[in-house]
Amino acid sequence: MNNSMMNHKLYTAILLLLVSQWMMAQDVLIKNGTVITITDGVKENTDVLIQNGRIKSIGEGLSAGDEVRVVDAEGMYVMPGIIDAHSHIGIDVVNESTAPVTAEVRVGDVINPYAVSIYRALAGGVTTSHAMHGSANAIGGQCETIKHRYGEEDPEALKMEGAPRTIKFALGENPMRVHGEGQGIQPKTRMGIEQVFRKAFAEAQEYASAWKDYNAGKKQVAPAYDVRKEAVADILSGEIIIHCHSYRADEILMLMDVLEDYGVNQICFQHVNEGFKVAPELAAFGASASVFADWWAYKFEVYYSTAYNAAILTKNNVVTSINSDSGELIRHLYHEAGKSQKYGDLTDNEALKLITINPAKQLGIDDRVGSLEVGKDGDVAIFSAHPLSIYAIPQMTIVDGTVRFDIQADPIDMRLDIDPEEEMPAFYELDAHDHHRCMEGVFEELFMHQH
């Protein structure tokens, strides 16, 4: 064995050892922290015991066996792992932008566990994110709720088992530009977008009833199989929660009208910058809202906005969350939540709900995550100071009882997969995965094509 091969073997062995220690599933006892439960107040000098990946107990002076890893959290703040209801990290494709309706495509098919952006999110205390299809189409693809189990190499292991199915819808300029302007087809206008929904719903209804007849033995021959209509029919039957890219109030009202006509009631409006104008209507419909703290004016339909949006929606009893839609912003969602206190005077707990239990509700996973309660998943973020303080630094992030980020053991290079043809030198500040956005996927935009 020559020298370089020996080196290689040694290196691999050391790396394996490191990785296995770092993500060893182990019971964890977090001692003497200030525990922000979200659903049951703030508890000083309190311990949290995680056993077999679940929260076993929360209380003072807890003890556990020798096998348990003890984390001293004295002077630190312990909160539920942060949840991002709108992100595009950890997936290889964002937009199948070739048709106005692509309900059949699933970003869950292209999860990439090697995306280092997942680790970066962990370093910001985020344990769960909603990996979404982009907003190029009126009805985009199905999304995937992922747990940030960075270190797992099987994409399936990142999917949050049992999380409800969700799908991306989009209103306004994006689908109009891609299909109307780009291809000269419907939808060219906001009116056209409404008709795209109505047509898709009507066809799916017909399709579902044709299959019902066939399955009941009323027809000899099966209806023509259509993977797209299957998915839309699943929306109508309530199996899939809609997450709709939206800005303007008039369009938001339009979609609620359409959904009412078809008896669909599970919807979360995403971005929803003009949500403050229709907050009572959203609350009455039972729709939720996932917003930016203070991000707007990046295109014409997003000018009429306010940093008070999250607070106004919250005060109107709309289940509201703050999301990132970005591989960078996802690292400081706790700052984004903090902004809602400057603008709108939300209480600490109201502000933290925006990044914990509320996004959990919007994803239909609030029985599992979003608060520190006995029986819930062992997803915990530990901060050096109160998470709404500008001085707070994430110390440790635990997913299902496994420590996935520890600031004390945070090697420089956390990539799990190295491109063997990579050019030297390499800088990763501009990792393409970090820049996934709603409109990503139209490569020609980057490549000599002008709109």
């Binding site: 370089s4 091969m5 290689h8 290196y11 691999t12 290889d92 494709v93 937009n95 199948e96 932008s97 070739t98 048709a99 106005p100 692509t102 059949e104 495509v105 699933r106 970003v107 098919d109 292209v110 990439n112 090697y114 693809g141 190499e153 099987d154 994409p155 291809q183 000899q220 021959v221 099966a222 023509a224 199989y225 993977v227 797209r228 420089i412 290079d413 990539r415 997969d417 190295i418 491109d419 063997p420 043809e421 990579e422 050019e423 030297m424 030198p425 800088f427 501009l430 393409a432 820049h435 996927g441 490569f443 020609e444 935009e445 980057l446 490549f447 000599m448 094509h449 002008q450 709109h451």
Partner: protein, 586 residues
């Protein structure tokens, strides 16, 4: 007059080469005897000083005491090594590269619902239509010792059906050993039409597969009792999927990278078709799953750039040149022993660590075959992506990384024969098998081996033994650079971008013009850097009011090139491949 003369000479020469072309001389006899040779009957079984007799296309006798027929042409095999002809478990041999080239978004096509053939869905296509018996790839592979190829059509998600062919013959009919034995499948998306991404392709696979399953049922019911039933009427694409749905014909699914392979395996699990995973380049982490699911594996014979010794030497040379020109001091690897130590130290710790990881990653790729052998997964090799000239070099790199010679030989002979179901006729030098034979002047696993004869179906091909090649300067251009090239940028997870690249000039002074198929605007590039066969240039383009820097670096080999496109200083990189469409004079 001079012009006429040279034309005449050219004509004469081509006529001569046609009539005297070695391969076209009819064999004097169809009986051959290779005597006193080291006969590797199959991996691990060698007959020293044995004789092998070929008669009428078959192996007539093998052994130590064999009677040589009187009409046999005797090849004195003293010290020579005789192997079973190699079998490519998957390749595009015989399919001209100009056929089935990917095209830009075609005009007049509904982007959201294009016709199947445009979208890359042609499962009805057989290679018989495109197979050319005189395509250069056939003789080139034969020269490397290959005698049989499982040839798959080129294309996208369902490119068509593969056939097993002999790498020798007068016509497509003559060459095809077994027709339509497989369906070529992949996750390759269509250019800016549906399905334009991997998620679209996977959805389309589900759509077509289930549609075919129902259609098959419908036809069956109609056949039994048509009265009162709607007449079944399905496309040829759907109909040609029936054998796949019935699990009679396997899908040879291309899954180079770990995620591709994972996605293919998930799809297979969901739909249930028979699958052979091919083109595997990064499959070592999925070995347990391949094993537990019993998936047949075909490894890609291509290796990452810079991962083999020769590549490294080339890199080193390039590095040195660059240093001289730019005065840069870079680490150029382990071979760089002569450099004073202090120069090495100028690499930052960070760069060193990054380089170490790249090297470690390369070693994983080169070591893949050995890892499969260790896990006792028999595998064949796919040649769909490797340059023919790199086959031996890459195999030797794999051997150096721990693959045993027996396993390497099995991957070229007995394993592919088994995978393709032709073990009873090919893959070993046993009596009664097809006379597909390699005769080499020493062990195939020696670096300086020369293959002297290759028999295909008993037909002898004498190889020109390489005379000492003139030492070409490393990195010297092997092809003419100037001309018009068509290129395809393979955007990761997205539709490919295509267009034309025109390189103008001669010697070391070139300019370029570049266009895309979707945009009529042409960009002129005044500075093109040419270093041997490497061509690089940079330009900026205006995207939504933003200036975006784009750089390209391509390596030209004859009429093909491959390289990398880098956007916004490396924010995004994508592989680019191209081929020459015309020379400046055309």
């Amino acid at each position: 007059m001079v012009k006429h003369l040279s034309l005449l000479l050219l004509l004469l020469l081509s006529a001569l080469s046609q009539s005297w072309g070695q391969d076209d001389v009819p064999d004097v006899t169809s009986t051959f005897a290779i005597t006193n040779a080291n006969i590797i009957v199959k991996p691990g079984q060698i007959i020293e000083g044995g004789t092998i007799v070929i008669k009428d296309g078959l192996i007539h006798q093998v052994g130590k005491s064999v009677t040589i027929p009187i009409d046999a042409e005797v090849i004195a095999g003293d010290s020579m090594f005789v192997y079973a002809g190699f079998i490519a478990a998957a390749s595009h041999a015989g399919i001209p590269s100009k056929e089935e080239k990917r095209q830009g978004r075609p005009e007049g096509v509904k982007v959201s619902d294009p016709p199947n053939d445009v979208a890359g869905i042609t499962p009805q296509k057989s290679i018989r239509e495109t197979l050319k018996h005189n395509d250069g790839s056939i003789a080139a592979l034969r020269k490397q010792g290959f005698t049989i190829s499982h040839t798959l059509p080129k294309g996208r998600m369902m490119a068509g059906r593969g056939s097993i062919i002999l790498l020798d013959g007068e016509s497509a009919d003559d060459m095809i050993l077994r027709e339509d034995v497989s369906l070529a499948g992949s996750l390759k998306s269509a250019p800016r039409i549906y399905p334009g991404t991997t998620i679209g392709v996977l959805a389309k696979w589900r759509q077509l597969y289930r549609q075919a399953d129902l259609a098959k049922d419908h036809e069956k019911k109609y056949k039994m009792a048509p009265s009162g039933m709607k007449r079944p009427s399905f496309s040829q694409e759907i109909k040609s999927l029936y054998p796949v749905v019935n699990q009679e014909v396997p899908v040879f699914f291309s899954g180079p990278k770990q995620m591709d392979l994972h996605r293919a395996m998930q799809l297979q699990k969901e739909l249930g078709f028979k699958m052979v995973a091919m083109d595997i380049e990064q499959g070592w982490k999925l070995i347990p799953r391949l094993k537990s699911s019993g998936t047949t594996a075909i490894l890609g014979m291509n290796l990452p750039k810079g991962a083999t010794k020769k590549d490294k030497k080339k890199d080193k040379k390039k590095g040195d040149d660059a240093k001289e020109e730019k005065g840069e001091k870079e680490d150029v690897g382990d071979e760089d022993k002569k450099k004073p130590e202090e120069k090495k130290e100028e690499l930052t710790e960070e760069k060193k660590a990054l380089k170490k990881r790249i090297k470690s990653s390369q070693a994983d790729y080169v070591g893949q075959a050995a890892a499969f052998e260790k896990a006792a997964i028999p595998f064949g090799f796919s040649l769909t992506k490797v340059k023919t000239a790199d086959i031996k070099k890459n195999l030797m790199a794999m051997v150096e990384a721990g693959l045993s010679e027996d396993a390497a030989l099995a991957a070229l002979t007995t394993n592919p024969a088994k995978i393709l179901g032709i073990s009873s006729m090919a893959g070993t030098l046993e009596k009664g098998k097809m006379a597909n034979i390699i005769v080499a002047d020493t062990s195939y696993f020696k670096e300086k081996v020369n293959i002297k004869y290759v028999f295909v179906d008993g037909h002898k091909h004498e190889m020109e033994v390489k005379k000492k090649e003139k030492k070409k300067g490393e990195g010297e251009a092997t092809g003419e650079i100037a001309g018009t090239w068509s290129y395809v940028v393979d955007v990761p997870g997205d539709s490919p971008v295509e267009g034309k690249l025109k390189l103008i000039g001669a010697d070391d002074s070139y300019t370029a013009e570049i266009t895309t198929d979707t945009d009529s605007d042409m960009i002129e590039i005044s500075e093109v850097e040419v270093d041997g066969n490497n061509v690089s240039f940079a330009f900026t383009t205006d995207i939504d009011g933003q200036t975006m820097p784009i750089s390209m670096s391509i390596d030209i080999t004859d009429d093909e090139f491959e390289g990398t496109v880098s956007i916004a200083g490396g924010m995004m990189t994508a592989p680019i491949t191209g081929s020459k469409t015309s020379t400046p004079n055309e």
